[in-house]
Point group: C2
Chain length 427, copies 2
């Protein structure tokens, strides 16, 4: 029997409580794990709709009931954010309790220390719900792919951003219109900054780097960018070139280093990731043995996230652990942002007169950037025309330098728009 304390009775917490209370017998029968919810801690002690806590379960606002009671073996932390969650984690672990959480912000910024502390105390810190809600990314990477050297991974791991991009692509909505729609349907929070500016994707990417490559990625060093500046015109040009635009978490092994970044990217229509729509998440991974693999499902929401949290509890109850897979530390370097390499989509707004294309191509060439495809069509508006170029692989520093030089050309009318292109090809 595993005695469980739950901290945080929000959307996910309520579903975890429901599972532990109403499915206890069936989980025991199907898996052999006997999970007992003993304590629920929340600042708000009002009853929750759809949840009747029986008298055996203590419902309190006293955090000590979860963290200091010796009969509690596992603490589920679902309050999110850095503090007080971090202190709660430390205290639970110091008291030799396992911790299960969905708190990606905390794990991204403090995960290394917490995992070390847990290892030193002989308890587990589990976080299946931290990357893609109900989709078993952590277990698949750490256990199922354990015999593989992971070469690279690509993730669509923020449902809010993906919902907005899907609506923009499919219905031609502007970013602002699509965001409004996402809020109305509950796919975006009142303050969606973390989701649309890429922070949440970057948090999850640091977790993926840890489990895929054994790399402690300092969150502050991670290069990330959101989708709020995307315009419909870029989605349309991307479509003409055979791509759709997704907010992507990317991590690629380059020799003895890892290149990691999160940003909107053009990906080919025919790749399975391109058909991941609306609030769905997916992670594609390439292992040296298994080749390409994809995991797809709901990355958020109370019920899918609770499913992952309870799976972690079952693992603990049955004595299953990550082994060294989450604490293992490789010697891989981190590729500095300036040196990160990809293909690029560049959209220039130029004056409609002879020689302009040549000027741009000259500057690109001087900066070691080769053009793979070029698209110019449509009539000039106020004497300016858009020119779209897709480049071969070029490093970030060279592209930034080229764009700065191009901005100084007399024929350039607006700021140049740049996006990365990820062909996602296997091998």
């Amino acid at each position: 029997m595993l005695n469980v304390a739950l901290i945080g009775l929000g959307t996910v917490g309520k579903e975890v409580a429901r599972l532990l209370l109403y499915e206890r017998e069936s989980i025991l029968e199907r898996t052999g794990a006997d999970l007992r919810l003993k304590v629920v801690v929340d600042k708000d002690l009002a009853p929750r709709e759809g949840l009747r806590l029986p008298s055996e379960v203590r419902f309190t606002d006293d955090i000590a009931a979860a963290l200091d009671d010796p009969s509690i073996q596992t603490v589920v932390e679902l309050i999110g954010g850095i503090e007080p969650a971090k202190s709660f984690h430390r205290r639970a672990i110091e008291n030799k309790k396992h911790v299960v959480t969905a708190n990606k912000a905390l794990l991204a910024e403090q995960g290394g220390d917490l995992l070390k502390l847990a290892a030193s105390r002989g308890v587990q810190l589990r976080f299946e719900a931290g990357v893609a809600g109900g989709v078993p990314i952590i277990k698949s990477f750490t256990e199922s792919l354990a015999a593989n050297r992971i070469e690279r991974l690509y993730g669509i791991i923020n449902g809010t951003a993906n919902y907005i991009l899907t609506q923009m692509t499919q219905k031609g909505l502007s970013f602002d219109e699509a965001l409004k729609e996402a809020k109305r349907l509950g796919f975006a929070e009142a303050d969606p900054t973390f989701d649309i500016e890429g922070t949440d994707t970057a948090h999850k990417l640091t977790l993926l780097c840890r489990i895929a490559f054994g790399v402690e990625m300092p969150f502050q060093q991670l290069s990330y960018e959101g989708i709020s500046k995307l315009s419909l015109i870029d989605l349309r040009y991307a479509a003409e070139l055979g791509y759709t635009i997704k907010l992507l978490a990317v991590a690629i092994r380059r020799g003895d280093a890892i290149e990691a970044r999160a940003h909107p990217a053009l990906i080919p229509y025919a790749h399975p990731l391109a058909s991941v729509s609306n609030e769905f998440n997916a992670v594609t991974v390439v292992g040296d043995r298994v080749g390409e693999m994809m995991f797809y499902g709901r990355g958020a929401g109370g019920r899918p996230t609770a499913s992952a949290v309870v799976a972690d509890l079952i693992d603990i109850a049955l004595g299953r652990s990550y082994g060294k897979a989450v604490s293992f530390s490789s010697n891989l370097r981190i590729v500095p942002r300036d040196e990160s390499v990809s293909k690029w989509y560049l959209r220039f707004s130029v004056e409609d007169r002879p020689g302009v294309l040549g000027q741009i191509a000259t500057v690109l060439g001087k900066n070691r950037i080769s053009i793979e495809a070029c698209l110019q069509k449509g009539n000039p508006v106020d004497g300016a025309v858009p020119v779209v170029m897709q480049t071969f692989e070029a490093c970030e520093r060279d592209v930034r330098q080229a764009i700065e030089e191009i901005a100084r050309l007399a024929t350039i009318r607006e700021e140049t728009r740049r996006l990365r292109v990820e062909p996602l090809t296997s091998e």
Copy 2:
């Protein structure tokens, strides 16, 4: 340290040996699992290209070296087929050794007995490689989805059949041409019967039923059909109706019963399963908590399959087990074949004269079958025209009865072709 004996040094066995020998240090470092290959048993003792067995590894044709040596803790069986594999499993388990295998035929037909025997001896029988090669279906169902009631699942789990169907669909090849191409490229064996006639898909489906529903599906009762009778004309009509045709394993919870079948089916273009091409595999599952989820990757081949086998070994070495998830037995009934329900695609070849459609519709209606869509076009050939109908849900018995009655109509020219339609909609 886990001492391992490997039986069968074929395509998969060789890759398992390579992983255990050449990646031993990195697996130990990354996971904490110390796997030691001690014995390799095969009838053929010739050296294998790309594999140098060191002198510490005994390479022998004596099966007792694997099954009876008390220092061996785990046996990996990769010879396939029922006998002698079954006897090897029993002897290894009786001798209290864990067994890891990719042998779906054996598990489909004898899995229940072997799992019971393993449980009684306190050892594990693991089979991650048995369903979709490198894709972690078994672990995801038994562990990651353990808090869910699984409602239904759909799998494209035979790479040979999927390769052939993809080539027929994309290049307009006939079945025979596509099979020839698959053989040339190594995606089909010299005798492809098990793959193209659905037997392999059905074997894997019985494993899926066990882990998803706790149902022991007697293989002999399973309804399955292959792809060798598919003609291009049906692929084209399916496309006009918005579907692609895949060889599908299907299992659906219907109240207190499970309906399971394997057959070619029309699935909607827009569903992620429709973009699973060529030799790739995928399984979609709907859980009551997680909603829809999909796992995608390479379902066959030495390296992906070896990746799954070694993942099982790592689990054993780290003391991770399935718990009760593979031996759990539910009380779910099995829906008799006659009562299985789906939408249907029906193609009639009829004489081109008035009243024929009405005759057919009358017979269908009398047998409780309603028409959802109808397609008739093209000029008559020898006075016959094809008429395609898509029905609403109807049970197998009614459809068979209706087709028999329709066959007796004077206006019917050829045998009616019927295929199931699976809309795959969530909820």
